[in-house]
Amino acid sequence: MSQLLVEKYSIRLYGNCSVGVKEGVVKTALDFVPAATVLGAAASAYLLYACDKNASCYTCSAQCPLRCVWDALRQRHLAISHFVPASPQGGDPLKEHFLYWFQLGKRAPRKSVHAHVAINRAAKSVQQMIAAGSGSGAELRGLLYGDEVWAPPSNEFYGFLVAGSEDVLAAAREVMGFLDLAQLGSRSKYCFVELTGREKLAGVDAFLEELKESWNKDAPLTAAGGLALASNEVQQSLLQAGSVKLRVVDVKRMMQHSHPGDRYVSLYKLLLGDAERIYVSTLDALPILRGDLYLPKWSLTGVPCLKLSPLGWNRLVPLSWVRKYAQAR
């Protein structure tokens, strides 16, 4: 990437919206909207509403904006951040975005639980199922379940698209324009998305300079962004101030058609506590704000080279910088 073009996107969700995972009978909501979810929703809406080719994307040879976005993501010329809740205090959106991950748990969006119960179409009553036993000893249980949803206006999120060229950014802009018609998250037939803002971000170079000043080889790092889609990966306590040593315990293999041999590492996995710990100071300093991140000397699991996904825009940033910014706020 010769240049970095950063564009900020803001979205607002309407209805009972969430992106989450099922835990028992309640589907819990994440504290942010994963980049893959936003991109997937926009791409799906683009395919339905704008694409007039009667072919699967895998076999279609047309050069459309969506194809351009996929290619740019594969080549690491485009990165999309997770969408985090809009900061009520305002402030620099880029810095606030980085700080959000440091303060995960403290700045969670307000949520409420909505209970549902299934109605049996034949009996016209609450659907019941036989949970255990049979005959007179059978236990009948209602099919009750709940969704944790973001409470308005906690349903306002923002994130960034980082591109290496204007062409790529324009293609991504066109795809993201379909967010108004997109279905996003779980139970999306009851959820509507609105693209509320799009602006080019100025001052990115100054921000990078500021980060570099805080950067040195032995500096402890903290995570910004991540691949987590399951809440059990989110170890909020480890992200609080005071417990910021990064620990590597696991590598998550992800399937991707274009890179079948690649391994991706989840920063949330890095943060899990375990007996097998190594500190981040053994890692080389990473280039910041670029999609093609490598950790070349890391060999705990025999993996010669790790790439971080441009989806989610995983970053490690100097802890000292985050603390400094948090104090300044």
């Binding site: 009972n16 179409r121 059978a138 206006p153 324009g177 037939k189």
Partner: protein
């Protein structure tokens, strides 16, 4: 099976829901709401901008509306169309998972064997009969394709009419519904009735001890507004195929379509918007109550369409979505004036909505309908 990979039509509509009896949609026992009532009405939390605290707004969840509209259409189809068979008569031609599922229901629900089975509508909560895409096993596939004959031209499973519209396991529905909220003006002032009830002992005829309870309900006369988007709404409903020969099947289709239109009382084409409008009409006539206590007079509502964007035809659909997709690059007034050609306004009075609760498209639809009504009033006055 590729279902609707392209958009050929779209309906975006705004509806008014007026309660004509008490309506109660409960929140569940373990949801903490700011009320001392035993059985509270469900509310949605709306935070004050920039603050941690907020107000709990009374609303009707989209999932309740979706369920009731779907259920009304299911009932209507079962009433108007002929059953293909009964559970008891097909039981022996089923095997494996389907047979064991039928046996389980038969042993727990009295008279289950007489339950009629339909080709055009499934029972979504009966595991052996509900549409699933793709069918989970060979037994279920055999049941769906050969026993209840929900078969496509190609001989594969084609979901029932209701699942084609509202969706099934593995098949996304065409209908998207937003929660029904009160208008901005009445949002914080809408009162709730508290109704106290007691269980009566059938032997003594007196109040039973410990059976006193109270419940919250939306009173009659309350007005809510909800927003609906239906993808490919003007597309014809896909009919099931009887004959083994696809050519013959197509030849018979016109005749069968006519038969369905007569039976279902559909004047125009038998398409998805016609089925959706039928379900709105049924709920509006009080045939299916919304929420709890439907057997004791609760849940009757009237639903009226206020305005809609109607986009039929691929060219129109493309134009409509292109206008929306460039919203960030154009002035809002320009976008709205371009959307006017798709507007079909039915009612003049549309109140202001809370912009935090309704998406841009719903707000734009309401605003355009209001301005069109104002223009026609001015024109009328001038004339």
């Amino acid at each position: 099976m590729l279902w609707y990979e392209r958009l050929s039509s779209l309906v975006v509509a705004l509806y008014e829901l007026r309660t004509v009896s008490h309506v109660r949609v409960g929140s569940g026992e373990n949801v903490k709401l700011p009320t001392p009532i035993d059985n509270p009405q469900t509310r949605i939390l709306r935070l004050e901008p920039g603050k941690a605290e907020g107000k709990w707004i009374v609303y009707i969840p989209a999932s309740s509306l979706h369920g009731v509209l779907r259920s009304a259409l299911e009932d209507y189809l079962r009433t108007q169309l002929d059953a293909i068979s009964t559970v008891g008569s097909v039981k022996n031609s089923c095997s494996g998972s389907v047979k064991s599922s039928i046996d389980k229901y038969s042993s727990s629900i009295p008279g289950f064997d007489e339950l009629p089975l339909y080709r055009e509508v499934c029972y979504t909560t009966l595991l052996f009969d509900n549409c699933q895409v793709p069918p989970p096993d060979k037994d279920k596939e055999h049941y769906l394709v050969n026993v209840v004959r929900r078969r496509s031209h190609s001989g594969h499973h084609l979901p029932c009419f209701v699942c084609q519209l509202f969706g099934a396991a593995g098949l996304r529905g065409r209908v998207r519904i937003l929660n029904a909220y009160p208008s901005k003006e009445t949002m914080e002032t809408l009162p709730l009735d508290v109704i106290t009830r007691v269980g009566i002992n059938r032997v003594t005829g007196a109040a039973e001890e410990g059976r006193l309870f109270d419940l919250e309900a939306i009173p009659p006369g309350a007005v809510f507004y909800f927003f609906v988007v239906i993808n490919n709404a003007c597309e014809n409903v896909k009919l099931h195929c009887d004959a083994q020969d696809p050519q013959k099947c197509r030849e018979e289709e016109e005749e069968r379509r006519k038969h369905y239109k007569e039976r279902l009382g559909v004047d125009r084409d038998l398409n998805y918007i016609a089925l959706f409008e039928k379900s709105i009409e049924l709920v509006s006539k009080g045939l299916v109550p919304i929420g709890a206590h439907g057997t004791v007079g609760f849940g009757n509502v009237e639903i009226a369409e206020l305005a809609r964007f109607e986009v039929c035809g691929e060219e129109g659909a493309r134009k409509f979505t292109r206008i929306l997709a460039k919203r960030m690059d154009s002035k809002e007034s320009e976008i709205k004036s371009e959307l006017r050609e798709f507007l079909r306004s039915r009612r003049a009075e549309i109140p202001e909505f809370d912009p935090n609760l309704y998406p841009w498209l719903a707000r734009a639809l309401a605003e355009l309908a209001r301005s069109k009504a104002a223009e026609s009033q001015q024109g009328g006055a001038g004339g």
